[in-house]
Every structure is written in structure tokens, then in C-alpha cells.
Amino acid sequence: MTFEHCIRCTICVENCPVFRVQPEFPGPKQAGPDAQRFRIGREKSIDDWVLLCSQCKRCEMACPCGVEPAQIILRVQQRYGMEHPHSPAHLLFANNYYLSALGSMTAPLANRIAATKIGKKILGQMGIATYIPFPKFSFKTLSGEKKTRSRGNRKVAFFYGCFINFYRPDIGRKIIRMLQSFQINVVLPPQVCCGLPALGNGNLALARTFAQKNVASLSNYIDAGYDIVYTCTSCGLCLLQDYQGILEIPEAKKIAENSYDLHEYLLKLIAEREISPVFREVNRSLAYHIPCHLRALKIGYPAADLMKRIPGLDVAILDDACCGLSGSYGFKKTNEAAACELGARAVSLIRKTGAEAIVADCGSCRMQLSGLSTMDAFDPAEILCESLGIRNKK
């Protein structure tokens, strides 16, 4: 931990979205490096305000001294979680994976209940915010998809993540078709939730269980010559950063070395002249909301680089605002007001561009932004597919 390197410049504080709107949160400098000096192993943690940090990582990206306040806070959050009982909302979201699996199995029913007044009331009493519609479960998850093969010698194991699996498997199918159109072999390796929701809700043990399962599975595929491709930037960050970092999974380095963001991967193949996609005109003007976790991945904005190649497409890049939802953060009643205010700011920046729709890599950013603005929000892959003429079979 490098908290001693802090020069107290407050640059992180200026970048913290939660600090902006949530007076109870003292900001990354105080919650991170400042308070760290006083945290002793023997004493129970009392600083419950650490739970207010949404783990957007913006503080970390701005700090000129490499202090990583978000990492410090994440560790304190886990410790707090171990020492204190979890609220129903925390428990629920940590276990989002199992719940979503259940939700999908019973999709028609679950969706209807979640949308009713009574459903909302129950959610409210559990401490869950309902200011934007809860995402709809999909009955046909991606994990239920049959094996798909094509003839190429590039092999990809697709880590699709919970959002695509349970809510938008149609996007997942399109991505698979797109990769296949480049003669890439795509398989869907056995996988569970990446573990980030569990971490975000102070449940280190559960996160580790998820991580171990994933690593065991993905590692086999890497040994068999597969590249891992993920598409959710938060899953990606968890896979690459947290598995090696806070979760201390032995084989995590191997996973990090062989996993790529979908768009990063396509650019790589283009650079290596393995594929040369022909992008056709798409007449749209889009506001590209950069998810905080894409920025934190340090790979630049590969989807923007790809979309630049699409004729007729006008993309304005917005990376100054956090959407406010931060996975399950904004779904908690205690954070609802902050999430709404941050979302409103992000939406106002989007509106300023005059774009007609939103594009964002992260499913929960899209949910928040389209929920608050009533604009359409696309995954960049959907735009690429539109340009490449790739459609799902009816």
C-alpha cells in the first residue's frame, strides 16, 4: 500500500463523483490515505462511511502520485464487511448472480413482479431503489446457448458476464456472430459471476469463491490455446485487477495476460492483419459515455477507435462524468439520491452534444443513462454489428 506517497494535493477529491454530491462521504483523500494512518489491525473498523465509496476508481486514475485511494478503501470495505452484519440490500446484490439465475429461470413472472407497485414496495423495504426500471430478466440466457464453431485457427473463450447473460443475451449472440464472421472459433467456457458485485458489497469470501471457479475454468482454455475475450468493462477490471490484487488468486496473472476487451481484441487482430473488417455506413450521432472502469483498464478507448472507422457515424466522447449507478451502488436506497444527481449530470452532458442516442460498454451505465434520459443506449458492439450487417436470427 502506498498511502505514504500521498502529497495531499486533493486532486483525487476533485475527481470523486460521490464526494461531489454526498456530504457524508469525506472523499478519497480522507477515506483513503489520510485515515489509513489511523487504522490499526486490532481494532474493529468504525468508519461506516467507507461504504459510501462506489469504487468507480476515478480517484486512482487522477492521482499524480500513484496512491490508489480506491484500493485502500476497497480493502477497508471488505474488512468492514467481515466485522459487521450485512444489510439485506448488500446481501442481495452480493449474491446477484444466484438471484439473476433464479430470475431468468422464472423470467416472465419475475419481470412482472418487479414492475408492479407491490414488487417495488418490497424492493423498497429491502433498501433497494426503484427510480429507474429494474432490468428485465431474459428467459433464454446466453449460457444455455449451444456450442458454436467455425473453421479459423484463432480460438476465443468468451467471458460474457452476468448482464449480457441474464438481461441481454441478444447482444452476446451478436458478438459471437461477429467473431465468427471473422473466422474465429468462439466457445462459451463454464463461468460464473466475475465477483465484482460481491466485492462491491463487502463480501470478500463470496467474491473469492466466484473468482476461483472462473480462474479454474478459464485457465484450462488458455492452456488449450484460447484467448479470453470479455465485453463488460467492470467484469474485465475485476478479472484483470482484483483477481491479482485483493483476491490474491494464484493463477490470476495468467488470466490477466491472456484476457482482452472485445474491442481491444479486434483492434489487435486488425493491427496483426489477421482480419480486415469492411465497415459500412451507419448514419447515427452518438454520445459515447466512457464507463469509469473502461478508463481504469488503461487500454485507451478501443471501441471509439473502431467506431471512428465507420463512415457516417458521429461519436462524441464523454469521459468526465460517472453515470452514478456503479453496478449495484445506486440501487441501494441509501445511495439513491447521490446516484440520481450524478446521473442527471451525466445526462445533461450527453444532451449538450446533441446526440440522438447513447453508446456505452457497460450494461449498468446504459441502464442508468437510458432510464434517466429515455434515450436509446447501445453497446458499441451493437453499432459495429449494425455496420458489419450482422443480425441475430429471428
Partner: protein
């Protein structure tokens, strides 16, 4: 091998790096800027110091020691760079005022006056003496801003205090972005029956819309309003950084955040790529030329070991006072600490002296003998050298 090959990679997002990158992008080069974190501009008053050691910046520069890197910038380049800066800021709705002919004063948060060259429009009305009649508005509980300091030094000042419900500069500035808050505040302000000629605020008048907020207050109260820069978090510094960054992006430049350069790939006399450690695997970016704008010690470009000062990216030869005893003076607050001279010595083309590489250009406060503090060569110097280094880089690439 990186995915995209750039013409130029600029390292560092300070005033120097952002200026260089935006200018090169304007010349239609493929430019990427990589940065470890946010620059010293965010900590600054937002005022542009060119050379604050004299009343006239140009005289001040002429009087700098012969080895000072400012002499490597031609007067035309300096003028162009600052003019372009002003035009850009005006286009982006954050106009600056001032000229290279004359420095001006800005009232500081402790009631002293700071000498500078260009000021944001929100400080245009800053008093030029301690005689002016000023009413100071402060905010209940605001951290790090003490009206007492100001009142003890200004002869004709009074103050009132508004409860904004939050106590941080950031929080209040965010409130000012909200029209309803602004309107309530304006009504309160009208009720204060202010008699003084000017109204002063700590610099919290909005984040993106400071010009708008300032205009609203001025037109309602019918007299000049100005901001007093605060300790960091400093809103005018952040606005400056945000606007420069947006400008670069609009010119087509790409920015990689959280990208501390930790290694380089080289071949012959050329640097081919810079690399960072990106979540588990090295990530590299190729370019034909590189501009080093990593700042001095605070920015992170220089690092002092016990016996030696190192430049962290390319390990370029560093100039520093030979004897370690000459690094510091006895007086902590001295502006004359020898270590201020430390940095990279360059030739006329802003290429590092005594280095084997021929595609690196250096600009900003990492240049040897800048002595930012002593000479008051701040953002203005960074902007001017950023422009000069970029120009020389372009010529090399042609």
C-alpha cells in the same frame, strides 16, 4: 507492437503537454497523450504566469540568465502561443484577459497580491491595490478560506456569509451549476444591500459555467464581481485543465489516463514505443516521436535519490547543482533553492542534450534551469515551450 501507431506521443497532461499535443493534432498528426495522473495546473490559481519577476513579462524574460530555457523560445512563438491560448479559451467559453506587455495583480486568499500575466475573466476585476472598496462573500463553514486574512489586509472591505449547505469548494461550485440554487442565492445577495464597488468571492462560482454564473451576478448586482483563488481543490485550476483537455480531444487527440510510462522500446537512435504496466500485462504505444512533458518534482517527471536526480521515463541526463549541499538554502520558504534548477538541458530544437535518442523533445517545467518559483515561469512558460517543442517535433517529422 501496439495496436495503433501514432505520429507523436506526448507524455504528461500538464499545460506543456496539452499545448504541444493540441497543436500537433491541429497540424493533422495522429497524436496520443499519455499521463500518470492529473497535472499541477489543477492545483494552481488558473492564472497564467509567464515571467512574474518583473512588471513586464517580456522584460522579465530578457533579464533571465543566459542559460534559461525561455531564451530558446522566439518572441514570435511566445506571442503566437499565448494568443492561440486566449483564442482557444474564449472559444470554449472561459475567456482570459491580459497582455504580454504588462503583468497584473490578483488578490490572493490571504490578502496579498500575486503577480501574473493572463487571468480568467472571473478574476478580471481583481483589485490592483488594497484601497479598493470590496464586499467579500464567504460561505458558512467553507474549508481553507479565512475572510479574516483578507479583512486584515484590505482597508475598505466588509463581508457577509451565505449558507450553501456544503462546506467544500467543490461542493459549492457544483451547487452553482444548478440554476435553482443560483437564483435563490441571487435573491439573498440582493437583500444584503451591498455598498462597496466590487464583490469578491472565493473561487467557487461554478465548474463548467463560471462565465455564466459571473455574468448573472454582475448583471443583477450591477457591479464588478471577481473570484479569489483558493487553496486546492482550486476550481479555476481545474477549469483550466478541463478546457485544455477538451480542446485537445476536439482536435482529434486521444488521451490515455492512468498511464504512467514505466519503460521504453528502442532501436538504434530512436525510441519506438513507450510502455506501461496495464493490469497485468505490459501495454505499449508506438510513435515516430515523443514529447516529454512530465513536469518537475511535483508533476512526477523528476525524482531525487540520495545522491542523484533521475528523469523517470527515458533516464535522460539531468542537470542539477553539482554539490548536494547546494540543493537547498537554510530558509525553507526561500525561492532560491538550487534544486529548482534541476531538469533536462536541451538544445535549440528542444532535444535533450547528451542523450543518444533523436526523436525526443522536452518541454515545460522539467527543463533545466527553469526555476519556476524564483522566476515566476509557470503555465505561460509551459505553454510557450510546449508550442516550441511541438513545432520542432513537426519539422523533424516532415
Amino acid at each position: 507492437m501496439s495496436v495503433i501507431e501514432y505520429d507523436v506521443i506526448v507524455i504528461g497532461a500538464g499545460a506543456a503537454g496539452l499545448t504541444a499535443a493540441a497543436w500537433l493534432a491541429e497540424q493533422k498528426l495522429r497524436v496520443a497523450l499519455v499521463t500518470a495522473g492529473e497535472p499541477t495546473a489543477c492545483l494552481s490559481t488558473g492564472c497564467i504566469d509567464v515571467c512574474s519577476r518583473s512588471d513586464q513579462p517580456l522584460h522579465g524574460i530578457a533579464g533571465l540568465p543566459d542559460e534559461h530555457p525561455f531564451h530558446r523560445v522566439s518572441p514570435e512563438t511566445l506571442k503566437q502561443a499565448l494568443e492561440d491560448f486566449r483564442r482557444m479559451m474564449a472559444d470554449m467559453d472561459m475567456p482570459y484577459e491580459g497582455t504580454l506587455e504588462e503583468n497584473r495583480l490578483v488578490l490572493s486568499a490571504i490578502g496579498t497580491f500575486k503577480t501574473t500575466c493572463l487571468v480568467p475573466a472571473t478574476m478580471h476585476a481583481s483589485p490592483q491595490s488594497d484601497e479598493e472598496k470590496i464586499h467579500l462573500i464567504t460561505f458558512t463553514g467553507l474549508k481553507d478560506f479565512y475572510p479574516g486574512y483578507l479583512l486584515s489586509r484590505l482597508r475598505n472591505a466588509s463581508f457577509s456569509s451565505y449558507d450553501a449547505g456544503v462546506s467544500t469548494t467543490m461542493g459549492i461550485a457544483a451547487h452553482f451549476e444548478d440554476r435553482a440554487f443560483l437564483e435563490t442565492f441571487l435573491l439573498w445577495l440582493e437583500r444584503q444591500n451591498i455598498r462597496e464597488d466590487k464583490i469578491a468571492f472565493p473561487a467557487v462560482l461554478g465548474l463548467e459555467s463560471s462565465s455564466f454564473v459571473l455574468n448573472q451576478i454582475e448583471s443583477r448586482l450591477e457591479r464588478p464581481v471577481f473570484e479569489i483563488p483558493t487553496l486546492p481543490p482550486s476550481m479555476p485550476g481545474r477549469r483550466l485543465f478541463n478546457v485544455m483537455k477538451d480542446h485537445l480531444r476536439r482536435r482529434g487527440g486521444v488521451i490515455y489516463w492512468n498511464w504512467p510510462v514505466v519503460g521504453v522500446e528502442k532501436s538504434g537512435r530512436q525510441i519506438e514505443a513507450v510502455t506501461t504496466e496495464a493490469q497485468g500485462r505490459p501495454n505499449s504505444l508506438n510513435a515516430r516521436a515523443f514529447i516529454l512533458a512530465t513536469g518537475s518534482f511535483v508533476g512526477g517527471g523528476l525524482y531525487a535519490n540520495r545522491d542523484r536526480i533521475v528523469e523517470k521515463v527515458f533516464n535522460l541526463p539531468v542537470f542539477a547543482p553539482e554539490n548536494r549541499d547546494d540543493w537547498f538554502e537554510q530558509d525553507y520558504f526561500s525561492m532560491n533553492h538550487g534544486i529548482g534548477q534541476a531538469g533536462i538541458p536541451v538544445d535549440e530544437a528542444f532535444c535533450p542534450q547528451g542523450s543518444p535518442w533523436n526523436n525526443i523533445f522536452v518541454c515545460g517545467s522539467i527543463l533545466a534551469r527553469t526555476e519556476t518559483l524564483k522566476n515566476g515561469c509557470g503555465h505561460g512558460f509551459a505553454i510557450a515551450t510546449g508550442r516550441a517543442a511541438a513545432r520542432s517535433c513537426l519539422e523533424r517529422l516532415k
